[in-house]
Amino acid sequence: MRWLRFAGVLCLAAVMQAGLLAHLNIKPDLLLILLVFFAVYSRTSDAIITSFATGFAADIIGFTMGPQIISFGLFGTALAYLHRVVNIRKVSYQVPAIFMTGFLAGILTHLLTFFKGEPTPPNVYSVLFGTSLFSALVGPFLFLPTAWWMRAKTRRFRRR
């Protein structure tokens, strides 16, 4: 695992999410896409660390700290273990994986935010649905440049 490159792509995603995409109502969650990428293309032990680190970055640009560290860490780890059973590297599996991870992690985030005593907006679930769907559609296209940057193998076996 190339940790310096990971830190670079994580910072870039956080800055773009907080700057370039901040004004869109429904936007892809770049950090969610990174979460699923590293859960699928890294070893399980590395995927655990990258999941929590991505959650930390999401909290840094978010409203309050803590909820996304836990939700991203939990669901990223679960996805990494699921990948041992189901090959999520297929595009047809990547789309529902990104969508479900985003939706479930988002629900847990808002529950934890609510328990922390922070106010939550009323239409959060509709925005969450839209964001997860948009991320699921855009995510597989961003996997290739990320794999190139991280020098990750995108094919399990080479064709002879």
């Binding site: 910072c11 956080a14 800055v15 773009m16 907080a18 700057g19 370039l20 995409l21 901040a22 004004h23 869109l24 109502n25 429904i26 936007k27 032990s45 655990i48 660390i49 929590f52 959650g55 930390f56 909290d59 840094i60 640009i61 409203f63 309050t64 700290m65 803590g66 909820p67 560290i69 836990i70 860490g73 939990l74 780890t77 934890l112 922390k116 922070e118 106010p119 939550t120 907006p121 009323p122 239409n123 959060v124 925005v127």
Partner: protein, 254 residues
Amino acid sequence: MSFTLLMLTGLIFLFAPQTVTNKFQFAFARIFRWPLSISRNLSLFAWTEQPLSKVVDRREYDKLQNHLANIREELLQEQKKVEKLSGLRSRSVWEGAKFALADVITSYVDELQGELIINRGRDDGLAKGQFVLGDNSVIGIIYSVDSRTARVRLFTDPTSNIPVKLPGTDVSRVMQGAGNGSAVIRMVKQKVEVGDDIFAVKKPGFLDTPVIIGKVVQCKRNSESPLLWDVTVRPVSDIEKLNDAAVIIMNPQK
């Protein structure tokens, strides 16, 4: 083992007080200030129509309109004071106030949140609850302060509740943020005209005179109580394009 340790770290962050965790968010805003500003400006340039030449800049026009509305309201307040307390000394509404000018580092304006991060903090006299002006209108309130940065909750944020004055009355109602650049005053008895100005009410220690906050864009019947009205308000300044803001510091420490 690593999962347990990292989960514990997450729980620590979750239960740590916000005054401690805010330091990380402010540090990020300070360290990445230039890339955030550049990407924000790129985003605004890409999503904004370019203005025609030989016309007044829209922002300048809005600024002057807001200033005019504030002057009219101040005049009305002064007239009421004179009627009530004639013969006694009175002081100008902004006499004890100082304005801290700040640059906007980054902004988050979408359906779920409305927030700015500015480059002034506790060292500049800022504190929680202070009102923030943009183009001579109230845009929000400081809700978190660091030594050198502060976070502004815009009045359009879904978690924002600001008391405002309805046009033509002295009755104050709570205006709640609705996300997506608007706010709502619910269950109002009288109908309000589209285009009317809405003012943030005085708050001792924070705001000595009503200041314009928005304009009415819609007034429709409340779905649960059809005899009452829901008034939708939009800001009178283009908050997404703001590069600077002014924080009102009443009675600053010398």
